[in-house]
């Protein structure tokens, strides 16, 4: 699914975010990305999503060579990748339905398929009955579920979640994790950057720890490994 070889990233201001990353993530895996703030987690996810380009090294995402990818091909890569952020990134003036439909409008889906798919993914995250609400009328956990519904609407093979539970209380966090696990069980690869020791230590999955731009630990069914 993802393959990186000696990937380095230096920002124009001189900050060295990644200093040589080698790794492979297979289809269907669930990977936690741990490490302190500023260790390079966000840069790592941005490279996969091609929000940033690597300074050197090779990156392959679902068979595509990202270092050689042209700007105009980037949108098609992103349609294969779902993203979920800590701050949800929902549009406040649109209803829940419209927020999710947005992702399908962009790929020029037919209205009939759009309606069907939007209700399907809303059902999957348990928010079918709140389709007509606007984001402000929902709790944080519900808003994050809408963001997940939007991220999976296009049947992505890969879902990147950047601290999806960062703004949520523990109970709500578990709900989100349950949904992510279901999505993973249906075959979608998930990469989740997190600071939550409880989640990583409870739901045991592959753990990749990044420090100072390098992978310092890559463990199957690993622990969080940091003092929270």
């Amino acid at each position: 699914m993802i393959k990186m070889q000696n990937v380095k990233k230096t920002y124009p201001n001189g900050v060295q975010a990644l200093n040589g990353i080698d790794l492979q993530i297979d289809p269907g895996e669930f990977v936690y990305l741990v490490g302190q703030s500023g260790a390079g987690k966000s840069t790592f996810t941005k490279l996969i999503f091609r929000e940033e380009t690597a300074t050197s090294g090779e990156i392959y995402v679902s068979g595509k060579d990202l270092t050689k990818m042209k700007r105009r091909d980037v949108p098609y890569l992103r349609r294969e990748i779902g993203v979920v952020y800590q701050d949800f990134k929902l549009l406040p003036k649109m209803t829940i339905y419209e927020n999710v439909a947005f992702a399908l409008e962009v790929v020029e889906e037919t209205p009939r398929n759009m309606r069907k798919r939007v209700m399907e993914v809303l059902d999957q995250v348990g928010l079918k009955n709140k389709a007509r609400f606007i984001p402000d009328e929902l709790s944080g956990g519900e808003q994050q579920r809408v963001a997940i519904a939007r991220a999976i609407a296009n049947y992505p093979k890969l879902l990147i979640a950047d601290e999806p539970t960062g703004n949520l209380d523990p109970d709500t966090s578990w709900e989100i994790m349950k949904i992510l696990e279901e999505i993973n069980a249906s075959g979608t690869t998930i990469i989740m950057a997190t600071h939550s020791k409880e989640i990583v230590n409870t739901i045991k999955r592959r753990v990749i720890a990044i420090e100072d731009g390098l992978i310092v630990r890559d463990q199957h069914r690993g622990d969080y490994g940091y003092e929270a």
């Binding site: 949108p75 890569l77 992103r78 993203v83 990134k89 947005f102 962009v106 020029e108 939007r150 296009n154």
Partner: protein, 298 residues
Amino acid sequence: MKLRTLKRHFREGFKNSWRNSWMTIASIGAVTTTLILVATFLVLLLNINHIADSLENDVEIKVLVDLTATEEEREAIGEELESMSIIETVVFSSREQELENLKSSLGEDGDVFGIFDDQENPLDDAYIVKLTDPQQTVPVAEEIATIPKVSEVNYGEDFVQDLFNFNNYARNIGLVLIIALVFTAIFLISNTIKITIFARRKEIEIMKLVGATNWFIRWPFFVEGLLLGILGSVIPIAALVTGYYYLDQNIETVNQFDFITLLPFSPFVWQVSGLILLIGAVIGIWGSVMSVRKFLKV
């Protein structure tokens, strides 16, 4: 692109202009002001050009043949003139004809020349020359003057030169002003729309995240710009049509000179209206699409 998507872009474009109606009015105002000025300049320039053109085409060079020239020498001058590629027509006018022309041009007063018979005719044989490019009158006249047995070359030097100079200045200054105005309007519009985009920044960011192509994002702005441009050209076109109609109807009562004629109302006004609409659309689209550019780099 599918038709449905195109409809969506139009709907979004209209919705956005409606939602930011004050910004829309401000942008339309900028386009309107610019186009009124552009239309005024166009009407002025094209008419000056028209007058200058008709005057230019009237410019002839009269080549006088020296009295001492033999018949062969006279014909040689004619051949020489014919061989010059810049010369369109050469008409020979004998001294007798010249005298007749002079007499008739003076009307009754011309009778005073009746005292000259053929022997005493003080005029010279002449060639009347028209050029393919009247702008070249001065250098060509100088060249003709060097032909042997040419006694004089007349073309109303000062007047012709002044006319050409004025016409060229007016053309260049007008063009520079129009271009400057158009770019000012584009700048104004792109800045106005940029303010509205600021509010839509999040929307654009999310569109990029879910894999929208740049053109998918740009289209509604394209539509919005087109709308601004077209709405902005309504008042200038109305003003142009009524203004020019009024001018066209009343010019004869004040016009003292036959050679000053305005371009006829139709099709001139419709051509300029079309051009104004086109410039308006370009200003609107350019300004609008330019303002999204910065936000597409994610």
